[in-house]
């Protein structure tokens, strides 16, 4: 019997498979299905401050349009008890999830204002979130913004939330920093309890007929696991914070790879959207089978065993790997 237990930001988990923020967590039924499917912890879908503000403004505006403007009608919508557009519904879902499932509920927050990050994080704690994941989705499109400015923004957000909430705080990042390892270290120093690698920046597409920019959302594939794999391997053992692998999990293969690179937990949403919440049990069984077949007694024993520090050729993680990759690609090309 392999010991699959792990710890994530100090939270003891039965095994390392965590359901990451996604649409399955939008309803209590979905959250329960994820627990039944075997999630060791559940990250809720992101609470977007900007979206809430926008929706609240829109709902207020739309329900008031035409009000007190016409002689025969003072309003156009009924007054409905319980109708509020704000974080209340999300907070209520956190509360109900906390009461209904046994695994830790991690709330995910995407703020848009300095006050918003802190205020919403505090509300999420009060609602019963076991931890908070800061989903810093930010595209620095302003050319006057320097890399240092961007990095400081991440640190400021983390610092502000960290000092205000008693529960662990993770930060979910994109890979686009000049020196990612340094950034990770600074976040670790600033008090991050966990780093989630990586946030996928959804890149918009063009509709050529309408000549409009359209949102494009595709589920992640195992090919996308390589970038997190690299940085998990590099960071393992160098930080106090826990490491979570996210992106590209489809089968037990990616789970094992991430753990060997040094992840404390492995998160997935895309595979659950493809195969259903029950897929978690298959991932877990596959992980156990692999560990057992390779004589590992526990996840702890395997974790980081192929990290930057442990592999026989550390350059595999650095430039050497790049050169080798080019050489191997070159050797596949047909000769002329």
């Amino acid at each position: 019997m392999v010991d699959l237990s792990t710890r994530y930001m100090g939270l003891p988990l039965e095994h390392p498979l965590v359901a990451s923020a996604g649409p399955l967590t939008k309803e209590l039924d979905g959250i329960k299905r994820l627990e039944d499917g075997g999630a060791a912890a559940i990250v809720m879908f992101s609470l977007f401050e900007e979206q809430i503000r926008h929706e609240a403004a829109a709902a207020e505006h739309l329900s008031e349009v035409g009000s007190e403007s016409f002689a025969e009608s003072l309003s156009y919508f009924p007054s409905i008890g319980g109708f509020q557009v704000g974080p209340e519904r999300y907070l209520e879902l956190v509360r109900r999830a906390r009461e209904s499932v046994g695994v830790p509920i991690i709330a995910s927050l995407n703020g848009s204002s300095d006050d918003g990050w802190v205020e919403y994080a505090r509300l999420l704690c009060q609602a019963g979130a076991a931890a908070i994941e800061l989903n810093v989705y930010f595209v620095p499109a302003d050319p006057s913004l320097t890399g240092a400015n961007v990095e400081q923004r991440y640190l400021d957000i983390l610092g502000a939330v960290r000092s205000e909430v008693p529960v662990p705080v993770a930060i979910k990042l994109g890979p686009f920093f000049s020196s990612f390892a340094n950034m990770a270290k600074r976040l670790d120093d600033a008090g991050a309890d966990g780093l989630v690698l990586f946030n996928r920046f959804y890149q918009p597409d063009f509709d050529l007929e309408r000549r409009e920019v359209v949102p494009a959302l595709e589920l992640s594939t195992p090919r996308e696991a390589r970038l997190p794999l690299l940085w998990l391997g590099v960071l393992h053992g160098q930080l106090r914070a826990s490491l979570a692998a996210s992106t590209g999990v489809e089968s037990p293969v990616e789970v094992v790879k991430y753990l060997l690179a040094g992840a404390d937990v492995v998160m997935t949403t895309s595979s659950l959207l493809r195969h259903g919440a029950g897929h978690l049990a298959e991932l877990r069984a596959g992980l156990e089978t692999w560990l057992s077949a390779h004589d590992y007694a526990s996840v702890a024993q395997a974790r980081g065993s192929m990290s930057h520090r442990k592999v026989s050729d550390p350059t595999a993680f650095e430039r050497g790997n790049y050169v080798r990759a080019l050489e191997s690609y070159d050797s596949r090309r047909p000769s002329r």
């Binding site: 409905i80 509020q84 704000g86």
Partner: protein
């Protein structure tokens, strides 16, 4: 002084300025100590808006702070030095009735008018909304001739007939003002013809539907369309000049216009214009289109509801007339008898026609046998045939005027009925599905040549969004605050069951060409016709700028299948029922949850909302199967 609108916008309050004005009052009036008053205002905000959520409370708090920092003291000068004056309520060139009666009522001085100022026979002049020039929008559409493909979509969807198109010989450009815009007409073989689109900027409500529907993009800047919203102030003077020139160009000859295309129909003069309907209204484009197609011989019975309010909103009416003085005759009866009222108009027109035909035969030796034979035997379906008949009737009237005696005079009084009347019975769903349903059913069963247009907003819009039998399952409405738990009545199927009623379901935002076709077929059909028109509405809880995309989603989800049932098709062995939209390709909820009327329930009571939503989706699937089966039948 404060720019309350701007403060409201910055605070995210939209157009609501109540918190701002209240703060101003207590900040400067001295009624209460300032700080105490402000504390009470904040307390009142907390109390009033807590139920709407913390974001609404927060925005109102912000509005208080912004108000205090935006209040500016204006010293009152010793003498007035401004050179800007208010424009007169109506222009000097307005007709005498508008200047003497309408304008005084617009100024709120109607009580001063003597009874003798009003028409003695109960009729009222039409075409008066054009004198109001409300100027309510700070942004207006600006046309870009170099990008435009002259499709006519912007003009079609404009709820207030603010965008109009004409074509004309290029030699007319000689008298054009400097800012005048034009482009070569996009048609082969007419190099000397120019095309112009004119925006009536003072009548625009700023809804931006025209921009939403515009398919053309600048090749080098895809954000620039052929029509774009821009600040009104910089363009208003030039556009007023352009409007004068535009009005000096004659409307295009109806016999040279292709009625069968959206583009062609937009060269027809709208005889429904500048109404007081909401910005972005989903009803008025249908009325405007009908007025373009049939307006100069249209008689309308209008049920009570939004369309009766913006249709006859004393002191003005948007129903207008052309240069020959012809336009729709319009009247509003009651909620409960409008269909019967319209049938009465039909019967009266028929009786007058019979009278005219009898008198014409009786007087044919006096008038001329050939002319009478031509008049009585004339076909009047095509525009060219109607035009020829109108010329014959004009000739008849000329000959009658030259003759004395009671019989010629009697024929003269009814001679206009020899041109085919187009009788329209118009109203909303509150009338057609509910209060006037019995009457409508009788009229549809009468076999008479009437055209019924139901502007279906799915609630009683005018009185504030009460549920009707047109309100869909799962939507919230007044009297149905827990979400409507029964389905929408299928008025189309009810009417189709008679077998001899022309029936169409249309949505101009989804398929304007089908709307045009259905209106023309309905009018041409020599029996009762029913056109049920999807009308987006403020009571749906949408940004009205997106009304057209909501119409498209309603159709693509199968919620609002476009259909036509034309009994005339049976004569040629064809299936009278045709489905004009494809099988559902989006989910009903993708359409529904863009609207507050559905989303409110989802927020307030998610489990119940989901139950209703599932039932609604099943109902959409079931009904589509029924329609698909009907469309697949043989003739």
């Amino acid at each position: 002084m404060i720019d309350a609108g701007e403060v409201a916008r910055r605070a995210g309050l939209g157009g609501r300025t109540n918190t701002i004005m209240q703060t101003c009052f207590f900040a400067i009036s001295g009624v209460l100590p300032r700080e105490a008053a402000l504390a009470k205002i904040r307390g009142a905000i907390e109390k009033s808006y807590a139920v709407k959520g913390r974001e609404v409370v927060r925005k109102n708090f912000e509005a208080v702070d912004l108000t205090l920092s935006s209040l500016a003291r204006v010293p009152v000068p010793e003498a007035v030095t401004s050179r800007r004056y208010r424009l007169p309520l109506v222009g000097d060139h307005a007709p005498p009735f508008v200047r003497e009666v309408t304008a005084r009522m617009m100024a709120g001085r109607g009580d001063e008018l003597p009874v003798s100022a009003f028409p003695v026979d109960g009729t009222y002049p039409s075409g008066t909304a054009r004198w109001e020039k409300r100027g309510i929008s700070r942004v207006v559409p600006v046309w870009e001739p170099d990008v435009c493909i002259q499709c006519g979509n912007c003009s079609l969807v404009c709820p207030h007939a603010v965008i109009r198109a004409k074509f004309y010989p290029d030699k007319r450009l000689e008298g054009a003002p400097a800012p005048w815009k034009s482009a070569p007409i996009d048609a082969r073989g007419f190099p000397e013809i120019r095309y112009s689109l004119q925006v009536y900027v003072d009548d625009c409500t700023g809804c931006a539907l025209c921009v939403e529907v515009c398919p053309a993009r600048d090749k080098q800047d895809s954000s620039r369309r052929a029509i774009n919203m821009a600040a009104k102030d910089p363009v208003v003077a030039a556009e007023r000049e352009n409007i004068q020139f535009f009005e000096s160009l004659p409307w295009n000859d109806r016999s040279r216009v292709d009625f069968s295309t959206v583009r062609g129909a937009q060269f027809l003069e709208p005889l429904f214009e500048f109404s007081g309907a909401c910005a972005g209204c989903g009803e008025t484009p249908y009325l405007k289109l009908a007025s373009q197609l049939f307006g100069d011989r249209m008689v309308t019975a209008n049920a009570t509801g939004c369309s009766s309010i913006y249709g006859g909103n004393l002191p003005t009416t948007p129903w207008a007339k052309n240069a020959a003085g012809r336009g729709p005759a319009w009247s509003n009866s009651l909620f409960e008898d409008n269909a019967e009222f319209g049938l009465g108009l039909r019967l009266a027109a028929d009786a007058h026609l019979e009278q005219a035909r009898g008198l014409a035969l009786e007087l044919q030796d006096l008038i001329g046998r050939e002319l009478v034979a031509e008049i009585l035997g004339a076909k009047q379906r095509l525009e060219s045939e109607l035009r020829a008949q109108r010329a014959r009737v004009d000739e008849l009237k000329k000959r009658l005027t030259a003759r004395a005696g009671p019989r010629p005079l009697a024929l003269l009084s009814v001679a206009d009925h020899l041109v085919r009347r187009s009788v329209w019975i118009v109203g909303g769903d509150g009338w057609a599905y509910d209060i006037g349903a019995g009457g409508l059913d009788h009229v549809l069963a009468s076999g008479r040549d009437v055209n019924v247009l139901v502007l279906d907003t799915e609630v009683y819009s005018n009185t504030g969004g009460q549920a009707s039998k047109a309100t869909p399952l799962a939507a919230v409405a007044k009297f149905s605050a827990g979400g409507k738990s029964t389905g929408k009545k299928d008025l189309a199927l009810q009417a189709i069951s008679y077998g001899d009623v022309y029936v169409a379901r249309v949505a101009f935002g989804a398929n304007p060409q089908q709307t045009l076709l259905a209106l023309r077929e309905a009018e041409a059909y020599p029996g009762p016709s029913l056109v049920i028109a999807y009308s987006h509405c403020i009571a749906h809880g949408i940004n009205m700028q997106h009304g057209l995309s909501q119409q498209s989603l309603a159709v693509s989800s199968g919620y609002w299948p476009l259909l036509r049932y034309n009994p005339a098709a049976r004569a040629s062995g064809e299936n009278p029922f045709s489905l004009d939209s494809g099988a559902p390709r989006t989910r009903f909820r993708e359409y529904a949850y863009n609207e507050l009327r559905y989303r409110m329930l989802q927020q307030a009571s998610p489990t119940h909302a989901e139950e209703l939503m599932k039932r609604a989706e099943e109902a959409v699937t079931r009904r589509w199967a029924t329609y698909a089966e009907m469309a697949g039948r043989g003739g």
